[in-house]
């Protein structure tokens, strides 16, 4: 399974929750397969999906899932200690770890070599870290959602991409419909 297969399998489970979709192909794939007001698409700013998601989770009560990638977590490694030390039980960080920078041509990342992101997250103090294979992503996500505990999921999958169109939505429209839905559910 490649990342788009993992997302496709997860959509029935995560579609109704607020998601922060990582820059590049993860956002484009979510946009193509399941465009929702609850999806926040990052059109720029590599690395900050987990930080945006943490800020969202700390600010309000709805569950928030940050869909991140191994390359992006490597870019913003400082996020893991911050997450560990500011526990938000409505926050799930899903790191889809395909061992490559998928959006830029599948160049290998260190996470696909010696570096274990699950071990790093644990070492940073994150308490509920689950590493799973792509085939187990749905069950792992269901368990994380049911636990009501902040959870870091490192989902290992194969490298590879499908053709997807770029997102042409205006960023303020993306943000506004996301915030409107968020305010509605928190009302």
């Amino acid at each position: 399974m490649i990342r788009s297969d993992v997302l496709k399998a997860l959509i029935p489970v995560i579609s109704d929750h607020f998601t922060v979709c990582n820059i590049g192909l993860p956002s484009q794939e979510m946009h193509m397969m399941d465009d929702q007001p609850t999806n926040f698409y990052m059109l720029g700013t590599m690395g900050l999906s987990s930080s945006i998601g943490l800020g969202l989770a700390l600010a309000q009560k709805q569950k928030v899932i940050s869909i991140d990638g191994d390359g992006s977590v490597l870019t913003n490694f400082g996020t893991l200690p911050t997450i560990a030390n500011n526990v938000a039980d409505n926050f799930i960080l899903l790191i889809i770890d395909n061992g490559s920078y998928g959006s830029t041509g599948d160049q290998p990342t260190y996470a696909g070599q010696k570096t274990s992101l699950a071990a790093v997250a644990s070492a940073c103090g994150c308490e509920n870290v689950v590493e799973c294979q792509a085939e187990d992503a749905v069950e792992t996500m269901k368990a994380a959602l049911a636990s009501d505990k902040m959870t870091i999921i490192v989902c290992k999958c194969e490298s590879g991409n499908i053709p997807v169109p770029v997102i042409t939505m205006d960023p303020v429209v993306i943000r506004d419909r996301f915030m409107t839905e968020m305010a509605k559910r928190n009302a």
Partner: protein, 165 residues
């Protein structure tokens, strides 16, 4: 009232409920007060762009936020300011220690000081410079302005303002 207390009071009066910080010696006092303030959730960041991401999330979750940081970090947050805070039109008060100005003992700090205002100007970020202690009186209006226009706004605070560093 001390400058530190005034800053925290202005944040609270403007309903800033989450503040992220990356420390600077000049900012140590105000960071302590932020940490002690029961109305503000203080979340230290490891890097300023990370902090700006947290602030973006807090804003979309319905809470006003702010970042406290050093001017050297303007050099590492240009992309985040342009492609997140500005692109999605989000408010972000940035209380920034302006190292490398008069009274600075560390020569290297001057190297980023000479670029600070130029980078902020290039980004079209409204920029205020607190040099005298009384300048803090404007902070309340600057915060109102920031949340009115949904832009990042820089408040540079130099060593003269802090009465040393």
């Amino acid at each position: 009232m001390s400058v530190d207390d005034k800053i925290v009071q202005d944040f609270v009066n403007n309903k800033v409920e989450l503040v992220t910080t990356v420390p600077c010696k000049q900012l140590a006092g105000v960071i302590d007060k932020i940490d002690a303030c029961k109305d503000i959730y203080h979340i230290p960041s490891n890097k300023e762009d990370e902090g700006m991401g947290i602030c973006a999330g807090a804003f979309m979750g319905g809470k006003r936020s702010a970042i406290i940081m050093q001017n050297t970090a303007i050099g590492v947050t240009v992309n985040t300011l342009a492609t997140l805070t500005q692109y999605y039109r989000m408010p972000l008060p940035m209380l920034i220690s302006y190292r490398g100005e008069l009274g600075e003992p560390v020569a290297c700090q001057v190297e980023m000081a000479v670029h600070t205002k130029a980078i902020l100007a290039q980004l079209n970020i409204p920029t205020y410079h607190f040099h005298h202690e009384d300048d803090v009186a404007e902070l309340d209006k600057i915060l109102q302005y920031t949340f009115m226009c949904n832009k990042p706004v820089a408040i540079l605070t130099d060593a003269s303002f802090w009465k040393g560093y």
